[in-house]
Symmetry: C2
Subunit: 410 residues, 2 copies
């Protein structure tokens, strides 16, 4: 008998109709003999409603009481789901984070899961019940209510699958799987039947907002078979697993586009030790996250230091850099918010030289000028002018033949 | 340093503005040096909203999952209240029923409190914090969430006052105390500065919907000083306490009116043992609650059996009685839904004979015909035609001089 954890997000339980549809889906799987743990988010919009309530009481709600407030969202969904399942004749029982002791650290609003007591869950499953667990929430060692931060329900699902040694953790979303690239831009984009944890991590952090990064890390660490599926249509979705479990591995799995970044540059910086720290220190102090960083080696004793930040941090970053530049006697500070980052991702590129040059050649053939390059073991990212977003994505998708299933074999 | 439990109901925390007003009230008392436990209901309308959600999933929501759902209502209020208090510079901490182990039996939707762990509360109070506790909810010995039924927050407050040995339990409502009668009908009605538990119990069950009966019973059992106050205006309200603590005790404390009952009568019943049971058995089997019961002794071997039920049970009761009457060869079944019950209540009547006759004489002087009479140790109830409601109430209020403070002394 298979044990399956099924997680449904806010849009899948947006209203009572949706909840009843999910209940029917779960009832079918239960009838088919699965041991099922359902993990739920709050009803779509509910978390924002609660946040608005909190904001009308204090300007920047946070800390312990915010978690007491927000955790009610999932508690509502789990009880309604159990009622809907019972109405379909399926025996079900709900559990809050506190009730099955989803033990976390005490970092309110962004807690991390430490352990889960599986005793009650296993008892419920043994009794043939569907266990319906509130995602996103836990308790610390003092029994204080904590939440895991936005998207934390994915992490709850994976953690439950890990402790229960479930056969699979299924994340139901509003897309039917992970695609080679954004199908709205490249109609030939293909659903990937399988992808590795590492690839998924790179894709998630690069803008394919299907899964929480933390959940994928967790799944990778505890070897949980993770599957992304659609709540609304049938299909096998995308399985996320270890490299060894994937039969035919393409060199490149996907091409991603990130429109959320802006580029800043300190021009003519003296090429001496400590300069990078002098530039990035004040930026980090202002809590600005930096993504790509490029520094060219200098010919004339001066160098250009370039990096990307979130677009919404663009203005403040420029302001900070102008102050820094003065202290460093740099020649100039420049910035460009009209850039995008395009990346190709694939574990196969580890064993294939020449992927980068193939990528650059293809872009050059389309006269796309590359502004920045950054590489990791399984990813190559470039920054280009935003006007090349669609052309760049299509060019690379076609160059690496991603529309055809696994033609480029390892 | 006084320890005070302050309970605010749904209309006192109906929205964020109300919550902030309550927070200001609590902050003042905190500044004045009280050790304060605040008990809150769900925001006005929230429990109904949750019930509607549940009803859209199943026809008659009840049991375990309903309590998981409903208990979120108070959890929202306690977190918002703590945020509002913190915004005023008052240190506060919220507790759900589970967190301070408000231990109840396992009767979902109508659980009874067994015990409360006061350790965490006392620690919070010692640290100078306001403890804000979710009313209406608890957990059973298996850590299942339970609720106490409508109005259960009053009971939570009294139970907390009992275990903490608080100096007073203050119930803040939308009225400023307990009145000698309904001020909308008798403008001379006077707020009672003090009333005994027993009187309050009789008045609560007779239609003065200020306090939950269970809360008053609880307060009486554990000798908790209970005070009813207005959330919206200043004042000392009404203190509910033991007879010994009341300085000047009036013979009659109040006159109440109940418009929710209807009268039914089985006429010409054979006067032999077992008849009352034969009549009331089928009524009880149909879960119909019976209030006043009167049977006259018979002169001619036949008697009339009269009782009152809730008006909404009138039709079904008549239907049941017609079947019963046939079996008993009774002469007739009659009913009247246009009746009201008027009662006078007062511990002082125990030691005063003649109260009943004074009551009947006053009514007779106004030509008010009495249809039924029922008495207890501290209460006399009569049933009259509904058209005499206001006149009856005013007549008795005036007869026992209730508008004047304690003129009729014991």
């Amino acid at each position: 008998m298979k044990t399956i954890v099924k997680k449904f997000g806010g849009s899948s339980v947006a209203n009572v109709d949706c909840i009843q549809k999910v209940a029917e889906k779960v009832a079918l799987a239960h009838k088919a003999g699965e041991r099922i743990v359902v993990v739920l988010s709050a009803m779509g919009g509910e978390t924002d409603r609660l946040l608005d309530l909190a904001r009308s009481v204090e300007d920047h709600p946070r800390g312990r009481e915010l978690d007491v407030l927000l955790s009610t969202g999932e508690q509502v969904t789990i009880s309604l789901m159990c009622m809907a399942l019972e109405a379909l004749g399926v025996s079900a029982i709900s559990y809050t984070g506190a009730q099955i002791k989803i033990l976390t650290d005490s970092a309110y609003n962004k807690a991390r899961i430490i352990d889960i007591d599986k005793k009650r869950l296993n008892e419920s499953l043994e009794a043939g019940k569907v266990a319906v667990v509130a995602g996103f929430q836990g308790v610390d060692s003092e029994n204080q209510i904590t939440t895991l931060g936005r998207g934390g329900s994915d992490t709850t699902a994976v953690a439950l699958a890990a402790v229960l040694e479930a056969d699979e953790c299924q994340i139901f979303t509003d897309v039917n799987g992970v695609y080679t690239t954004d199908p709205r831009i490249v109609p030939e984009a293909r659903r990937l039947p399988e992808v590795t944890y590492e690839e998924m991590l790179e894709m998630a952090s690069l803008g394919a907002k299907v899964l929480q990064i933390r959940a994928v890390e967790f799944a990778s660490k505890y070897d949980v078979r993770l599957r992304v599926l659609s709540s609304f249509e049938e299909g096998t979705g995308t399985l996320i697993t270890t490299e060894e479990n994937i039969m035919e591995q393409a060199v490149i799995s996907g091409v991603t586009l990130n429109r959320d970044e802006a580029q800043v540059m300190v021009v003519g910086v003296p090429d001496r030790p400590g300069v990078a720290g002098a530039i990035l220190g004040p930026v980090a102090d202002a809590n600005i996250e930096v993504d790509m960083i490029v520094q060219n080696s200098a010919a004339d004793g001066a160098t250009d230091f370039t990096f990307t930040v979130n677009r919404e941090d663009f203005d403040i970053t420029l302001k900070i850099l102008r102050e820094v530049a003065e202290g460093l006697s740099a020649r100039d500070v420049r910035g460009d918010r009209n850039i995008v980052k395009i990346s190709i991702v694939g574990v196969g590129m580890r064993s294939h030289a020449g992927i980068a040059s193939r990528m650059f050649r293809a872009l050059s053939a389309e006269n796309i000028n590359i502004l920045m390059i950054s590489t990791s073991e399984i990813k190559i990212s470039i920054v280009v002018d935003q006007k090349y977003s669609e052309l760049g994505l299509r060019t690379l998708h076609s160059e690496f033949e991603l529309a055809q299933p696994n033609l480029t074999e390892v």
